[in-house]
């Protein structure tokens, strides 16, 4: 009887459009589980703190943080646009040189910004507040707001203990730590790919067949012929590091974006880096990357490998937003010329020479990495803080 049942299961199990080798199955399994486990950031004493998350959410949408009182973080990181803005290059008080990266899943990052100029989410959160082309504010302006607004001052006290004092820089850093605590809560939801990946790891063929055939073929290219997972690795689909992808780094005639090269220099000169006085972790346990990062000539023109989760809703693409659609990105890698890459750089990228059908399949697969709708709902803020 047992044998008959087994045979029935074998013959009734739905056929998959694509077969995956053991090696491919291992690579696919490495892109999960999702959501990935996470622990609070030891460099930020209010990471995971409910009061800090509440204050950070208010500050994220607070226009008075900008010099003209009109721009908040949410000006370029809109919840309805996957926390980006849909523009090639972000526009605050003026246009900046790079695409606004989504802040979804930033809790999993090691480096922040396209050039990795910051080594913590809270240090990164200071950058747009002070950048003259973004919010254009100053530590003094932020401190004045936090001290002068009774509600914000109350929430600061609830979060950090003492009331905002006379040290403007400390208040700026604390405000950024609250902003970071809020952004850490923005995690993308489960996707069709996650369902497939989990079904594959538990051997559930019936569940696996619910994954679109074109996406299955695209996934096989992703972990096979395309070798995309060499850089887009792990549950967040990024190794968190930096590469030259052959995208022009001229900003305007005669001026280039030095990418990671400039990012490392900025990082090491930044007093809010993890080796500096504002790291709340006395052991500096997350500062190992900052302590050991190596500045090399090849870093010139390298940019961070972005996560591919919720990719569909974060167009346009690349560090300068120069590619409008996912198909454009895939075609870029399909036709890439080695002449576009640094002569002293890595020898990783080669033209994939994908067929039009393969480009469609890969596009279909990447589409299944989006959670279709997101999970964020802005909560009604209680009016009084006591």
């Amino acid at each position: 009887m047992k044998r008959i049942t087994f045979l029935l299961l074998v013959f009734c199990a739905p056929a998959l459009a694509v077969t995956f080798t053991d090696d491919e199955a291992r690579k696919i399994a490495a892109h999960g589980p999702w959501p990935a486990p996470w622990t609070p950031d030891p460099s930020n004493r209010v990471s995971g703190n409910a009061s800090a998350i509440d204050l950070g959410e208010r500050l994220f949408f607070e226009r008075r943080l900008s010099v003209n009182g009109e721009i908040s973080c949410s000006h370029c990181h809109l919840p309805e646009r996957n926390w980006s803005d849909g523009l090639p290059r972000a526009v605050g008080l003026a246009e900046v040189d790079r695409n606004a990266p989504s802040v979804v899943n930033v809790r999993y990052h090691r480096w922040f910004g396209w050039d990795g100029a910051h080594d913590s989410l809270w240090a990164q959160s200071i950058n747009p507040i002070l950048d003259p082309r973004e919010l254009g504010a100053s530590a003094a302006r932020v401190a004045k707001l936090m001290r002068g607004d009774s509600d914000l001052a109350c929430r600061y006290r609830k979060t950090f203990g003492p009331a905002p004092g006379a040290d403007d820089e400390k208040i700026l850093v604390d405000s950024a730590k609250a902003l970071a605590a809020f952004q850490e809560t923005l995690v993308s939801g489960r996707t069709a790919f996650d369902e497939f990946r989990d079904a594959l790891t538990r051997g559930d063929r019936a569940a696996m067949t619910r994954y679109p055939e074109a996406a299955q073929r695209g996934l096989k290219i992703f972990v096979g012929k395309g070798a995309c997972d060499v850089c887009h690795v792990g549950p967040a689909f990024t190794n968190g590091e930096f590469h030259d992808t052959g995208i022009a780094f001229f900003i305007r005639p005669g001026e280039v974006d030095s990418g990671r090269y400039g990012g490392i220099k900025k990082l090491l000169a930044d007093r809010t880096n993890l080796l500096g006085p504002y790291n709340d972790d006395a052991k500096r346990s997350t500062a190992i990357g900052t302590r050991h990062v190596s500045l090399e000539h090849r870093n010139f023109g390298e940019f961070k490998v972005p996560s591919l989760r919720n990719l569909e809703s974060s167009a346009p693409y690349m560090h300068n937003g120069s590619l409008a659609s996912l198909r454009d990105v895939i075609k870029h890698y399909s036709e890439i010329s080695p002449d576009r890459l640094h002569s002293d750089g890595e020898a990783i990228l080669k033209a994939l020479h994908l067929t039009p059908e393969e480009i469609e399949d890969l596009t279909a697969f990447l589409g299944t990495l989006s959670d279709r709708g997101g999970t964020y709902k802005r909560r009604p803020f209680p009016q009084d803080c006591r």
């Binding site: 690579k27 190794n239 190992i288």
Partner: protein, 126 residues
């Protein structure tokens, strides 16, 4: 055959004195002049995760440097490890990270009085 292999392995370091790395299992690399024993912390290695190396070099050299690179990709790590001496011929290297899947070469550059030797081992990372 197994007994013979053990005997052969034992014979090589014997010429250079017993080579030990206390604290558990270790990988062994042998070169014409040196034996390197090492283990990673944590183990096993993962792509994009910082790790440290505990290692011993026999005979004890004047100095040793540690590096890793991907020969096929023509690049090294994005981080420069530091090596500290923890005893006679034993060391700890910190700040390493293999940031891509594939074939890496872990390299110990061993400086003795009159020579510099490159002792390397291939690591395949998935």
């Amino acid at each position: 055959m197994r007994a013979l292999l053990v005997a052969l392995l034992a014979a090589a370091p014997a010429a250079q004195g017993a080579c030990e790395l206390p604290g558990g299992e270790a990988q062994k690399i042998e070169s014409p002049r040196h034996v390197v024993l090492y283990r990673t912390r944590p183990a096993p290695l993962k792509v994009g995760q910082h790790f440290a190396l505990e290692f011993a070099v026999c005979p004890a050299p004047q100095s040793v440097r540690v590096d890793a690179w991907m020969p096929e990709h023509r690049h090294g790590m994005n981080y420069r490890p530091t090596v500290t001496v923890t005893g006679e011929g034993s060391y700890k290297a910190e700040g390493l990270m293999l940031h891509m899947a594939g074939k890496w070469e872990l390299v110990f550059e061993v400086r003795a009085k009159d020579s510099v030797e490159r002792v390397a081992q291939v690591i395949r990372l998935e």
